[in-house]
């Protein structure tokens, strides 16, 4: 009997001795074969350039400000997590860029980046401080009847003003080693092929088409928010943000992305102004500017604050509330709405209505987060053993998207049951990320939880 026990124990030890090196060999092989393979198409080439190419400049890449883990934007709480030597802070450690390149205080406190949109002739006085817009859903948001509109004021790109040309201007403004900005010395300009790849990558991000509202939402408050949003006599939101996107729709005609002067610059007590730092007025589109800024998509808004070109408002509720305030109602756009209203009213919403519209936007954002998480997890589930590095990246991004959906719903006190499912989905995706053998099963369970969460938000179509 004792001999049999010893025999079993011996056999187990033997199996372990054989298995350990085998697992080690498999891990090593996996690590080798899952090394990032050379980019095989334009989008992956664009991704590589976006996150890794410094264009022989000061060390920044496109991804320095448009962080994948921060919804291709950046905000003060994310900035606070970065190490002191992150290239974002290049003005703090590169003596050539110490003055008139960035304002580190406004960058760290409010996520503001310095831009010389009215020219580089007077760096001391002529600049504006702007937030970093996300670059999601650009396929739906930059076309207008007058041509492409990029950046906060629609004139963000040199050359032909297209998204493809945008990177050239960004390299000159943000990547330079010195303020001389000499091509071939302080940076190199992107090549034609690189511009093609960057454009393809950016167009691949986020939604590829606009929603069709109304959606069959389940929550009482978000549902009411949607009604107000779509009501051209009450919220009037859908006029300039058709289907919660970035195109304007007047008289049944969609005019594409449009620029408006909504009076954001006239907001009192803007955080950057309160700081006491120099913060010249931003005149928007053109040189000199006409005071207009272009319309951002709203589906992605709730998790990409702070809001407006100057990061003036922190919360989505505050951003909706802006349109009920003096600054908007006295602006050219506000006056135009009032002129067209039979009672001469621009936008008049009460507190509950503001919160309802914000709740609607929170749910839209959460639905988009879930859509993206599902897409990422489904792609992950299809990956083979040899594609482990790519698979882990997909899972990491799915976790991040799911986390955003939790934050967006929780922040508005919305759909606690959905939040519970999202929490589970996130935990399962995290486990899948670190699991060697159970990845596939855990990923499938995370997908199921995401679907359960979505069912709480919207009627099944």
């Amino acid at each position: 009997m004792r001999w049999l026990n010893w025999s079993r124990w011996y056999r187990k030890v033997l199996i372990l001795i054989v298995l350990c090196p085998l697992v080690w060999v498999l891990s090593a092989v996996s690590a080798c074969v899952s090394m990032p393979s050379p980019p095989s198409d334009l989008v992956s080439k664009g991704r590589d350039i976006f996150f890794n190419e410094t264009f022989k400049g000061n060390g920044r890449t496109c991804g320095t400000c448009h962080r994948a883990e921060a919804n291709f934007s950046i905000n003060p709480s994310f900035i606070a997590t970065l190490p002191a030597n992150d290239p974002l802070f290049v003005a703090e450690f590169n003596p050539d860029l110490k003055k008139n390149f960035e304002n580190p205080k406004l960058m760290r406190q409010f996520g503001l980046i310095l831009e010389n949109l009215d020219g580089f002739g007077d760096l001391e006085n002529k600049f504006v401080m702007r937030g970093v817009p996300h670059v999601l859903a650009q396929r739906t948001s930059i076309n207008s009847n007058q041509g492409p509109r990029t950046g906060w004021s629609g004139d963000g790109a040199p050359g032909d003003g297209s998204l493809r040309s945008f990177a050239t201007g960004a390299v000159i403004q943000h990547f330079t080693k010195t303020l001389n900005r000499v091509a071939g010395v302080d940076f190199r300009l992107p090549t034609e092929d690189e511009l093609d790849a960057l454009e393809a990558f950016q167009l691949s991000l986020g939604r590829q088409q606009d929603l069709t509202l109304p959606l069959p939402l389940k929550g009482i408050v978000p549902k009411r928010g949607q009604e107000i949003f779509l009501d051209n006599k009450l919220g009037k939101c859908n006029l300039c943000h058709a289907n919660a996107g970035a195109t304007a729709n007047f008289g049944g005609r969609n005019i594409g992305n449009a620029n408006f002067n909504t009076g954001v610059e006239n907001l009192p007590d803007q955080p950057a102004d309160l700081s006491g730092e120099r913060n010249p007025p931003d005149d928007g589109f053109g040189r000199p500017g006409d005071g207009t800024f272009n319309t951002p998509p709203l589906v992605e808004s709730a998790d990409t604050g702070p809001f407006f070109h100057n990061n003036a408002i922190e919360t989505i509720e505050g951003a909706v509330g802006f349109y009920d305030g003096e600054s908007f109602n006295n602006s050219p756009s506000g006056k135009l709405l009032a002129q067209a209203d039979p009672n001469g009213v621009s936008i008049e919403l009460d507190g509950t209505q503001i919160v309802a519209v914000a709740a609607f936007l929170r749910v839209l954002n959460a639905l988009e987060n879930i859509r993206q998480s599902l897409e990422l997890l489904e792609s992950s589930a299809k990956k083979g053993f040899a594609e482990r590095a790519e698979d882990r990246d997909l899972l990491k991004r799915a976790v991040s998207e799911t986390q955003d959906s939790i934050k967006v719903l929780d922040g508005g006190g919305l759909h606690p049951e959905a939040v519970a499912h999202l929490q589970k989905a996130k935990e399962l995706a995290e486990k899948a990320h670190s699991s060697f053998f159970r990845r596939s099963g855990l990923t499938q369970q995370a997908i199921d939880e995401l679907r359960n969460a979505r069912v709480q938000l919207i009627e099944a179509s």
Binding site: F120, P158, G251, N259, A340
Partner: protein, 125 residues
């Protein structure tokens, strides 16, 4: 009610159409002649400055395709391209438009006559 929104539609559509989408001028000045993305050799003209008429505020540019006379207004930006000397590009003026220099002209869209939106002039050391 319908009239109100129709009026709004007309005003906004009219307002929208006056806002011509534009390339950013601020960073354009640092792009060497011939390298402006989507523009150079497509929508801009690159050639040699054949003649200058400061009084009439006009310049003629010539290249292998022929020659073209373009007007200059107060809104025309003139930039000195010094990138070949590894020097920073600078703002220039009409006096920098000298015969024989290599130039690139972007013509403003939507004007009855050809008017330059910007001119880049290559200058020597």
């Amino acid at each position: 009610m319908l009239n109100c929104y129709l009026r709004l539609a007309i005003v906004v559509v009219a307002l929208g159409s006056t806002l011509e989408a534009a390339g950013q001028q601020a960073t354009e000045m640092f792009i060497p002649i011939g390298q402006s993305p989507g523009l150079s050799n497509k929508e801009s003209v690159i050639g040699t400055l054949e003649s200058v008429y400061p009084g009439k505020r006009m310049v003629t540019i010539s290249n292998s395709s022929g020659s073209q006379t373009v007007g200059i207004t107060d809104r025309t930006m003139i930039w000195l391209d010094r990138s070949e000397q590894k020097q920073p590009n600078q703002n220039g003026g009409i006096n920098d438009l000298q015969k024989g220099r290599k130039i690139e002209i972007k013509v403003r869209k939507g004007e009855a006559k050809a008017v330059a939106e910007w001119i880049k002039v290559q200058v020597g050391p």
